[in-house]
């Protein structure tokens, strides 16, 4: 491998760490926003791997891939946000309904 600069193993360990932390985040966090963040972390972990390997093999494929992934990740998060917003709206309405019903 190209000796200069950061060794590949470092890339891989960091990315693996990011991926696992994200995974645990998904499993442990309860707030959906946090879960979305964790997912983002996982995707970016994979991105780091891609970039690292892309440097290792010196081709640009990996970086292109990473770029695409960024977009995808953003899209996913946005959808997630939208759904969360919708859910909260729903909850608010629901709460009010519940109370009126319970009072009546």
């Amino acid at each position: 491998m190209s000796g200069s600069g950061v060794p590949l193993l470092a890339y891989l360990l960091v990315s693996g760490a990011m991926f696992l932390i994200g995974l645990l985040g998904v499993m442990i966090r309860r707030n959906p926003l946090m879960v979305l963040l964790a997912v983002e972390l996982m995707l970016n972990g994979a991105n780091v791997t891609l970039v690292g390997f892309s440097r290792f093999w010196d081709t640009t494929d990996g970086q292109t891939f990473a770029l695409v992934v960024m977009v995808v990740a953003a899209a996913e998060v946005v959808i997630g946000l939208g759904l969360v917003v919708a859910v909260y709206r729903q909850r608010l309405r629901l709460n009010i309904d519940e109370m009126t019903r319970l009072r009546g």
Binding site: L23, V26, M27, I28, R30, N31, P32, V35, V87, R91, L94, N95, E98, L102
Partner: protein, 634 residues
Amino acid sequence: MLSVLPWIVLALPLVACIVLMLWPTEPDRRITRVIAVGSVAAAFALVIAIFVDLLGRDAEERTEVTTLWEWAAVGDLEINLALQVDQLSTFMMLIITGVGSLIIFYSMEYMEEDRDYRRYFAEMTFFVFSMLLLVLAANYLFLIVGWAFVGLASYLLIGYYYDRPSAVAASKKAFVVNVIGDVGMVLAAFLLIRDLGTLEYTEVFATAEGGLGDGSTSAEAVGFLLFVGAAAKSAQIPLHTWLPDAMEGPTPVSALIHAATMVTAGVYMVARSNALYELAPYAAGTIAVVGAITLFMAATIATVQDDIKRVLAWSTVSQIGYMMVAAGLGLYGAAMFHMMTHAFFKACLFLSAGIVIHAMLGEQSLDRMGNLRGRLRAAFVGMLVGALAISGIPPFSGFFSKDEILAYALAQGTLGVIVGIVGILGAGLTAFYMFRLVFRAFYGPDPDGGYNPEPHVTTWVMAAPVLILAFLATFAGWIQVPQGWKLVDDWLDPVVGTPDLKPSLGLEAATSLVSVALCVVAIGVAWWLFGHGSERRLAHAKTLARYREVLHQGYYFDWAFEKFLIEPGRQVGAFLRDFMEPAAIQGSIRSTVVATLETARGLSFLQAGLVRLYVFTMIAGLAIVGVIFILVGT
């Protein structure tokens, strides 16, 4: 000519079924009758034409395969929708359409009071179609298709009275057992494809010797798997439990499907596959043994049944046991011969029972019968002749067919001797339970409380078929006489061959004498026990209570299945559900209060940690896959 006729035969009942189904409104009953009876009777006429045509040829030219269209070609395997007309299939067609038209004719009056007449006849004609497809198919795939169709038809007809839960349960049971059989056959078909690369009868039987190898494991496997199908369809132990329950269907259905034709399909299939069973001695031996066990157990169970139809059902199981014994020992001619006579006398018995039930407005318990012989003459004659025939009293047909099986069995070496002796004992039991039925239903005093309303006499529509069948049950045996002429064997010989070991005159005589003597004794005992009133019967019933219980439970087969198969299955299902569906459990305990609190708390399903569980299982799965890869890879 032979290239067209079988298709017409096959088409007639199908068309009838479709017409009846698509008829916009509930058609006028006369139309229904004409269509249903007409189609099957016409089919019978055509079959006779085919038969005559075959008779005109010499024995080698009697096989004719006609292909309608290449249905599917999978790799080098080609499956065609083709019919094979030969001695065996013609023989079966004669029975199916002949007995079938009689029984459907009989149903015209039997089902008279029923509300959906149309559905009944549509399903009946559909059954006839499926059965014809089963026997006419020229390859195993369409055999399986017909196999599944008759299963479907019997499912529909057993569950005919769908407002009766017991009927629905029975129909489901029958269907599931039959599908187990189908799976056996399909797997056998896979093996044939793998080793022979074809499913066409002619090619399979031609190449089997080389492709599978004599006595090879694969040959045995094919033999066993096919027999799983046969056992399921022909109600052989341990897959027999559905047949007695199948009596929930209308009586003509029991007569046609669960006595005369469908349940004997297993025997037909074994006879058809004789070339394969030549190569699989163990599988064949198993068939003989299972048949022997079945015939004996079923006969014993039949001796304690109090429902007139259940007696006949168990006796059917037992009689098919005889056929299986014969088929297992390679006595295919004898097996088919007994199938024919059995079709006649068992149909006769069922239809007579049908008259009784019809006359007594659906009453089926022997305790509510007695002294009917004066009241229902036709039923009495039919029942008596049937009983004599099935018990093998000369000169009735059962004598010739059953004793041929027994005598030949005794000549087939050790296994043959064993099963033959079991068969003789079974014959005695048969005579006993059949005459128990006759005496309890038609002799002795009126049942306590008498009859109200008085059983009404039935018209000729129901009487005629019974009498015709009674006639056949009496004389049909004469076409094959020990040491004399053997029309059936000679007819079928080119297809199924004839056993090389033949019993000596002495052996045949001895067998006949012993079995007939046994039967006479059994009838005497039956008369002594049941001939006059119930007190003696009840007295002995008390002394034998424990054994009677075992028999009443049918040797606890149902109980065992329930306990060791179905119940554990349910528990596994319940466990899996609870383990896999926290959501479902949540839903079940969810009440308004809890719901309010959860909504207040935000996203309940995240709170409940479901997603976490999902992700967690995914990770576990990942670990599993990784481990497998490592293990396999290195």
